[in-house]
């Protein structure tokens, strides 16, 4: 009993309160999103997404209990085993999985289905943290880098096979972890630049301007800043890579991306070009959020989300309900809650004594950040439409449990940080 009281005192309650706030707000908004005035079912009605979400929330509490009770050493010790199991499940999915909404991402157990890809996120975060935490592991060692990228790339590849591009892309967020743990920023900067230039190329029809801009930037850097020959050569190589990206945009758009992916990028750049076709989701999503005004239309009073103008309104586009019914005030609260969560998790990660726990903490924050940024970004037209859930808000058992496990394993590790002093 004493031990139990002990552990509850050491849990990071601020994080838990943020978690509870997000989950409860999410639940209310799922109800609002599916609410139909003419039928007027209760929030608990199991035929509604909100009723089922309540069950998922209840199950999450069980999961949380389990995570807290299990010995903290278990997570590091069994990280690779869990990783192996999840890889196996991911291989199984395309073979025996069932198809829901075009993605073959579900494993059915009776009438009940789970998405292994949702759980792959926190398990991969654990495995990656374990690898980084291994004695002698160096982020600047090429062999270690290859191993680590392999560890991330394997589940990513398997998820891509399920045609779930969105979830696969989530794994790219581990770049933040590697950056924190000492990887050269070169890769991250080039990656961000490449993405930035890619979008810029689409926006600026004449590529000559871009090439000119890059050459001028390069020249300025060499003249005013960088004097060392080695650095100059790195910059030149970087510039050539970026110019290559520019030249390859057309090719990537037309030959590599699938038509629906091409359209999502086109919709981002100009949603008004075809508001009924590929621009539909973004346009309708913006209309729903934008019509909320400052104070919103009020709980259950939204017309856009309720009357199905917004697609997937209880899952990927749940933020539309928040924007429409609670206005900018509501959006502000949600964004601020997420910012608080992210900063709190960084704070927790930084106070860890073990490299494993810290790397895991950064895995947690990276995954949350990616989901938060991409999901809200897409609903307000800042990112292309990538179908990934908004953590704790979007309807869905697997996603909620995956995110809950992700967060509470960190809380569990954090509660025991005093015991691992000697192992740093």
């Amino acid at each position: 009993m004493r031990k139990g009281a002990d552990i509850y005192g050491k849990l990071d309650w601020p994080t838990i309160f943020i978690y509870m706030a997000l989950v409860i707000l999410g639940w209310f908004n799922i109800y609002a999103a599916v609410y139909d005035e003419t039928v007027s079912q209760s929030m608990w009605d199991l035929s509604l997404n909100s009723g089922r979400q309540f069950i998922f929330i209840a199950a999450s509490i069980v999961i949380i209990m389990g995570i807290i009770i299990i010995d903290m050493r278990f997570y590091e010790a069994f990280a690779y085993v869990a990783y192996g199991i999840i890889l196996f499940l991911l291989i199984l999915v395309p073979i025996i999985g069932k198809e829901v909404g075009g993605n073959k991402a579900w494993l059915g157990i009776g009438s009940f289905g789970v998405q292994p890809s949702e759980f792959a996120k926190f398990i991969t975060a654990l495995a990656a943290a374990k690898m980084i935490g291994t004695v002698g592991f160096r982020m600047d060692n090429l062999r270690n880098q290859v191993m680590l990228f392999g560890l991330i790339g394997l589940p990513m590849f398997l998820i891509l096979l399920q045609k779930d591009t969105g979830t696969a892309l989530v794994f790219t967020s581990f770049i933040f972890v590697f950056f924190r743990e000492g990887m050269s920023p070169f890769l991250m900067i080039v990656g961000i630049c490449a993405a930035f230039i890619f979008i810029l190329t689409l926006l600026i029809p004449n590529q000559l301007y871009l090439h000119g801009g890059i050459i001028i930037t390069l020249a300025l850097l060499i003249i005013f800043g960088v004097k060392k020959l080695k650095r100059i050569s790195i910059l030149v190589v970087g510039a050539i890579i970026v110019m290559g990206v520019i030249e390859s945009v057309d090719y990537v758009i037309t030959d590599v991306l699938k038509p629906h992916q091409q359209n999502r990028i086109k919709a981002l750049i100009n949603p008004d070009a075809d508001p009924l076709g590929y621009g539909w989701n973004v346009t309708q999503s913006k209309i729903a959020i934008g019509s909320g005004g400052f104070f919103g239309k009020g709980f259950l009073k939204g017309t856009q989300t309720k009357f199905d103008f917004v697609p997937e309104q209880s899952t990927d586009f749940i933020f539309c309900t928040i924007g429409e019914e609670w206005g900018w005030m509501g959006s502000f609260v949600v964004v601020v809650l997420f910012m608080a969560l992210l900063l709190r998790v960084i704070f927790i990660a930084e106070r860890q004594k073990s490299r494993f726990a810290r790397a895991y903490g950064y895995g947690v924050v990276s995954i949350f950040f990616f989901h938060f940024a991409i999901n809200i970004g897409m609903t307000i037209g800042l990112f292309p439409v990538i179908g990934i859930p908004l953590p704790f808000f979007s309807y869905g058992g697997s996603a909620l449990w995956g995110f809950t496990a992700l967060l509470f394993i960190l809380i569990k590790l954090d509660a025991h940080r005093g015991q691992v002093l000697q192992r740093l």
């Binding site: 005035e37 003419t38 933040f176 950056f179 924190r180 743990e181 000492g182 508001p275 009924l276 309708q284 913006k286 209309i287 729903a288 959020i289 934008g290 019509s291 909320g292 005004g293 400052f294 017309t303 856009q304 309720k306 009357f307 199905d308 103008f309 924007g323 429409e324 206005g327 900018w328 959006s331 502000f332 964004v335 601020v336 997420f338 910012m339 992210l342 900063l343 960084i346 930084e350 950064y362 924050v365 950040f369 938060f372 940024a373 809200i376 970004g377 307000i380 800042l382």
Partner: protein, 603 residues
């Protein structure tokens, strides 16, 4: 080695959150566009078009009524799984036509994928019945019921006018903001003049609907809904049987017949020839028919009774006589020699008094009369003297309703012209002019211009012995009576006593003068005056004005037949037939009727 990396990540996260909040603020609070779009998404505005007022004749016979027609509107984004083969089959159109329909729809200025846009317009009742059962197979198609005009007869087209979709120019000019793109509006005639009374009030219902267009109840419990109010019915002063008869008589002729009830100013008949069948300008074939009719070289859309400005010819001599008597320059027994050296004349007479001069339409007599009026010797300067005389003359003539709009309840009325000094100054470029330059106005030629309705009104003035009511077509708006301006008596500047002289003279015109052969009736004393207006190189215009009976007149008529020769022929015949038809019900002179019907005077 990893110093500052935590901070870099924190900054990235915080910046992302801030960017979101700013972007959210801009679309939620700063930009109102999205709120409007949301309304157009979820609120369906159903317009309930009002019934346009009906139009009756003076005996309560229905003339204009409404028949339902149906527009098919499309909300582009609601179209799902459109089966074009099926559609072409149901709507009986080719694929080519269907493609054109879609192109036309997209080309409309008001086109929006979120709002109903006109797709197929003006399906008749029968056509709609055929497609009605299939409509729910094509989501995204919405029916808009409204009405089109139908006519019980083919008569009165010019006076009734027509109704069509409001033009862009009209929309821009509309200060009332009542009209919307796609609304119908009266474009001419009564439909245009009484648009405000006829149109009624549109009703609107706001309904909430989901993305599939399924209704989800009324918006705010229907607080913003309004019912449509039908337009007011109009009772015209037209006698539709008389009108039909007049149009029959005008067949193959160009010109006009105007019949007025002198005691009220009510227009009994307003015939414009050539005319058209008003049913052509309704329904789906409106556009193609309109092009045909408006390109017709005989100008059937031109409402001659109000818009055709002619020289009045000899009928003007009556007005000259009245004016001269009022000015005191002649007496009824004043005789003037028929001196044919200054101006031509006709018939066998030499030295008539006023009545005889009117009866024989003596040109030199009225030349002399006008000389006395314009050169009264009030000024030493002969030019100045003429000016003074002309201004006085002008004032009297205008009091007969000439030289300006009468104020008929139809649009586009023309006023004609009665010259004054300022007019001649302009015409002569400020060089001096005197009587000898302008004397042809004495006999209704020269610069004078009148429109047929003014001639009929003039006949009514003589019939009333000196006053008139402004001619009008609408006897009553529902049961409110005519517009107030049509209840005011208008007086001429002439002493009523002088009119008996004119009445006597006009009686003699028909009894024994130029009108005796074709205008005289057995039981009714008709008073009339012929006119033959020069029209080189074509034959003269045939003109006749008349009223009857002599005492307590019931009807005043003007007839103007272009290029038909002497006034005593076509015009006198038609006028007398109209009088007979109205007062007796049918003609006792079939040979005259046959004479008119056989006359073809179109050039």
């Amino acid at each position: 080695m990893n110093e500052g990396r935590k901070e870099i990540l924190q900054i990235i996260f915080i910046l992302t959150g801030l960017v979101f909040l700013v972007k959210l603020f801009s679309i939620q609070v700063l930009d109102n566009k999205y709120a409007e779009l949301a309304d157009s998404n979820a609120i369906l505005r159903e317009v309930e078009y009002p019934f346009r007022g009906l139009i009756y004749d003076r005996n309560n016979k229905l003339v204009v009524y409404n028949t339902p027609e149906f527009d098919i509107n499309v909300i582009r984004k609601d179209i799902k799984d459109f089966d074009s083969t099926k559609f072409c089959e149901v709507f009986q159109m080719s694929r080519e036509e269907l493609r054109k329909k879609f192109q036309e729809m997209r080309a409309r200025k008001e086109y929006s994928p979120y709002k109903p846009t006109l797709f197929i317009d003006r399906l008749s009742n029968a056509e709609f019945a055929r497609v009605q059962d299939h409509l729910d197979e094509f989501p995204g198609l919405y029916v808009q019921a409204r009405t089109t005009r139908s006519y019980t007869t083919s008569a009165l087209a010019n006076a009734l006018g027509y109704v069509s979709e409001i033009s862009k120019g009209q929309l821009e000019k509309d200060q009332t903001r009542i009209y919307k793109q796609g609304d119908y509006i009266g474009q001419s005639g009564i439909e245009s003049f009484y648009e405000e009374q006829l149109r009624g009030k549109r009703g609107v219902k706001f309904k909430l609907r989901n993305v599939r267009g399924i209704e989800k109840g009324s918006f705010k419990e229907g607080d913003y809904d309004t019912l449509s109010v039908p337009g007011k019915d109009l009772i015209t002063s037209i006698d539709i049987d008389l009108q039909l008869y007049g149009e029959l008589l005008m067949e193959g002729k160009s010109g006009s017949i105007v019949v007025i009830e002198p005691g009220t100013g009510e227009i009994l008949s307003l015939v414009s020839g050539p005319s058209y069948d008003p049913n052509l300008l309704t329904g789906r074939n409106y556009s193609s028919n309109f092009i045909l009719i408006s390109n017709d070289t005989l100008k059937p859309l031109f409402t001659r009774p109000l818009m055709a400005q002619y020289r009045p010819g000899s009928i003007f001599k009556i007005a000259q006589a009245m004016t001269a008597l009022q000015e005191g320059v002649i007496k009824p027994d004043t005789r003037i020699r028929c001196d044919r050296s200054v101006i031509g004349c006709h018939g066998n007479h030499s030295n008539e008094d006023l009545r005889g001069a009117i009866e024989n339409s003596c040109n030199p007599y009225f030349h002399g009369v006008l000389r006395r009026m314009l050169n009264k010797g009030v000024s030493e300067d002969p030019y100045e003297d003429t000016r003074i005389g002309l201004e006085e003359w002008n004032k009297h003539i205008r009091s007969f309703g000439f030289g300006g709009n009468l104020g008929v309840d139809l649009p586009n009325e023309k006023g004609g012209l009665i010259p004054n000094s300022a007019y001649y100054d302009r015409a002569y470029n400020n060089r001096p002019w005197k009587f000898s330059n302008i004397y042809s106005i004495a006999i209704g030629e020269g610069e004078n211009l009148v429109v047929p309705i003014q001639m009929a009104n003039f006949a009514a003035i003589v019939a009333n012995r000196g006053f008139y009511y402004k001619p009008h077509l609408i006897k009553s708006i529902e049961d409110e009576g005519p517009l107030p301006q049509y209840k005011e008596k208008q007086f001429t500047t002439i002493d009523p006593a002088y009119f008996d002289i004119a009445v006597d003279a006009m009686e003699r015109v028909v009894e024994s003068g130029t009108g005796q052969y074709r205008a005289k009736l057995q039981d009714i004393i008709v008073c009339g005056k012929t006119g033959t207006v020069q029209n080189d190189p074509l034959p003269d215009h045939s003109v006749f004005i008349a009223f009857a009976p002599k005492d307590n007149p019931k009807i005043a008529v003007s007839v103007y037949v272009e290029d038909a020769g002497q006034g005593a022929r076509a015009a006198a015949s038609i006028a007398s037939l109209m009088i007979e038809k109205y007062l007796i019900g049918q003609t006792k002179r079939p040979h005259i009727e046959q004479y008119v019907l056989n006359g073809q005077f179109l050039y």
